[in-house]
């Protein structure tokens, strides 16, 4: 594919996106409007993440794409192929070998390091959206730091259910200022957001927003003193590699409703199995 520029987008567009990224890094957690382009894949399928990746990728980069923690889910395959074709960059499934990782719904289990960039695909960047549908209102609420509505929502959850009934896309506060949507990662992943050595960039294409967390940013999941935040996962070890501290997918394995639990992070699980770890369901 020689008819397109490196990583598909033209340089002017990349420059516009880089400016938004820099602004986002300068104001952690603030949603920067950007002139999102129509991409050759549908809105809602990672166009924000793809535009951010296109803007940060260099020919020397090694690129990894995961969806639900896995490198081989169809949309991850599709996005990886897109950058192989349009940027010709090296790709990998290994978390530690990658310099840029685009993700949907997970943070890799293996801690990221300085120099790596984690790019999130974001469907709805506005953490207040389902409390207030109007963009004009929510922007005002952010500028006035008016987050009472969010606390009331969390409190009502506790009053009604005994727990905060948000299990993914769990809202966080960044450096004591902006309330931010971490994208629909399970709340199990929330503690990894803070103090991360890597740069975290969030791209929402359809909603035309970019936001960012520079390395070692303070990120706190919203909670109450008497109902502290709890990162939860299925209470099982991985059936394949025996890991007890990784996030698990539940897989139905027979007609009788039999099930097993496996790591959602395929690279993490494969590496452990290769190192000889064995779960109870492994062959």
């Amino acid at each position: 594919m020689t008819d397109y520029n490196f990583a598909y987008l033209d340089e002017q567009t990349k420059r516009m996106i880089r400016r938004a990224i820099l602004k986002g890094l300068a104001i952690p957690g603030y949603q920067v409007p950007f002139a999102s382009r129509e991409m050759p894949m549908p809105y809602g399928w990672g166009t924000g993440g793809v535009q951010v990746s296109a803007a940060v990728l260099t020919p020397e980069d090694t690129f990894k794409v995961i969806d639900q923690g896995a490198d081989d889910t169809t949309n991850a395959v599709s996005i990886r192929t897109f950058f192989q074709r349009t940027a010709g960059v090296a790709t990998t499934t290994s978390t530690s070998d990658a310099t840029v990782i685009q993700t949907r719904h997970r943070i890799p289990e293996e801690p990221l390091t300085e120099g790596q960039i984690l790019v999130y695909q974001v469907p709805i960047p506005e953490p207040l959206r389902f409390l207030e549908p109007r963009e004009s209102e929510t922007r005002k609420m952010h500028s006035l730091e008016e987050y009472g509505l969010m606390h009331v929502k969390l409190y009502e959850d506790i009053a009604r259910h005994g727990h905060i009934a948000t299990s993914y896309a769990y809202p966080v506060k960044v450096e004591g200022r902006y309330v931010m949507d971490p994208s629909p990662i399970p709340k199990f992943d929330n503690p990894k957001l803070g103090d991360m050595a890597a740069i975290q960039l969030f791209g929402a294409g359809r909603e035309q927003r970019i936001y960012a967390l520079p390395p070692y940013t303070q990120v706190i999941s919203l909670d109450f003193e008497d109902h502290p935040f709890e990162a939860s996962k299925a209470d099982h070890p991985c059936g394949m590699c025996g890991a007890t501290k990784s996030y698990l997918d539940e897989v139905i394995i027979d007609d009788a409703g039999g099930r097993m639990f496996v790591c959602s992070d395929t690279d993490f699980c494969d590496a452990r199995q290769a190192a000889g770890h064995k779960g109870k369901d492994a062959a």
Partner: protein, 362 residues
């Protein structure tokens, strides 16, 4: 034994191959040519150009062929292509008063300078399936006559002379560009019109219809509807003057709306405006009605809370490429989020059950 699902890559390739085969259909039936689509499905081509925001009948026809006739998919192909094109500059504003009209009707005046021209319209056809078409699609030659020379003036200009209709003051401010800047609220009228002209026809039609049924009613007359071609001129920097670079077919609709006056405006007629690429009449009329409904604030009207009055609601949901992408993304895997919901629901149920047992014991 459980084996993790692999082979997404192969599955995708095979799916694409199957799709291509299905697109072609039965190979004993002759293949459609781009020219056939362009010439014989021209209203589909027009819609794809309008909502794809790219005036190129051949590319639109190609997109329709590739999309197997799914017009939203075709619009998507055009948009994705369009966004990669370099931008050389902007044309001069087109002068629709100088349009070579194929059709021009007014619902407000029985006769008027330039006349009423029905043009190639479905309006008074009886919607009876023409079984003859199934066997033989040749059409008899339509009678012709010479066009009357001279401009076809806009109906609203006549009303304007009497001061009966609101002024549309000349404004040279460069309009914002929806495709180069993020859509932010509040959106001025030029931006709203840009969004509406590429908005989904069905969504725009539904909103326009809702205003007619009372959700933000602003009784509308079609002051004028015209379809025809206009020259496109562009100033070439090296020349220092504008030269004609081509022609586009446009549909323009100007509505005249009753207005009893408000705190700030005297009683007069007000305007709604629709301008769309190609012969796209339903869309242009719908656009004009929605444009008028969105103008409640600048005219000092009451916001009755109707959907068509709500600029944020209308503009953020009118783009079918955004809408279809987000709607269809729920087909993508969500096992991670679903798993976290499963854990939560199980936990809440466990606790609720335990509480019931405890209450029963007490």
């Amino acid at each position: 034994m459980y084996v993790a699902v692999k082979g997404g890559e192969r599955a995708i390739e095979n799916a694409h191959a199957w799709l291509a085969e299905e697109r072609r259909g039965d190979t004993t039936v002759e293949e459609l040519s781009i020219a056939q689509i362009r010439e014989q499905l021209s209203l589909a081509v027009n819609r794809v150009m309008a909502e794809g925001s790219l005036y190129d009948p051949d590319l639109a026809a190609l997109a329709i062929k590739q999309a197997r006739g799914d017009l939203i998919e075709a619009i998507f192909l055009i948009r994705a292509y369009r966004t990669t094109l370099p931008r050389f500059g902007a044309s001069e504003p087109v002068d629709t008063g100088n349009m070579a009209c194929d059709r021009r009707i007014s619902a407000t005046f029985k006769d008027l300078p330039g006349g009423q021209v029905l043009g190639p319209t479905f309006d008074y056809t009886h919607r009876l399936l023409d079984f003859k078409l199934a066997a033989d699609g040749e059409a008899p030659k339509a009678p012709t006559r010479d066009t009357e020379p001279g401009n076809v003036p806009h109906v609203t200009e006549f009303l304007n002379r009497e001061g009966l209709i609101e002024e549309a003051p000349h404004d040279d401010t460069p309009p914002p560009d929806l495709t180069r800047e993020p859509l932010e609220m509040p959106a001025e009228r030029a931006l709203r019109l840009q969004a509406l002209t590429r908005a989904d026809e069905g969504f725009t039609l539904g909103l326009a219809y809702s205003t007619q049924r009372g959700y933000g009613r602003n009784h509308t007359f079609v002051g004028e509807l015209r379809i025809g071609s206009v020259p496109v001129e562009m100033e070439i920097p090296e020349l220092g003057f504008a030269v004609e670079i081509g022609e586009v077919t446009l549909t323009e609709c100007e509505t005249v709306n009753q207005f009893t006056g408000s705190k700030t405006e005297p009683p007069q007629f007000t305007r709604g405006y629709g301008l769309v690429f190609g012969q796209t009449e339903r869309k242009a009329i719908s656009m004009a009605l929605v444009d008028r409904a969105l103008r409640w604030e600048e005219l000092g009207e009451d916001n009755v809370g109707a959907p068509a009055q709500d600029a944020e609601f209308v503009l953020y949901h009118a783009d079918n490429i955004q809408a279809t992408g987000f709607l269809e993304h729920i087909k993508l895997p969500h096992y991670v989020d679903f798993q976290s919901e499963l854990e939560l629901v199980r936990k809440l149920r466990r606790e609720a059950a335990a509480q019931q047992v405890q209450e029963a014991a007490e």
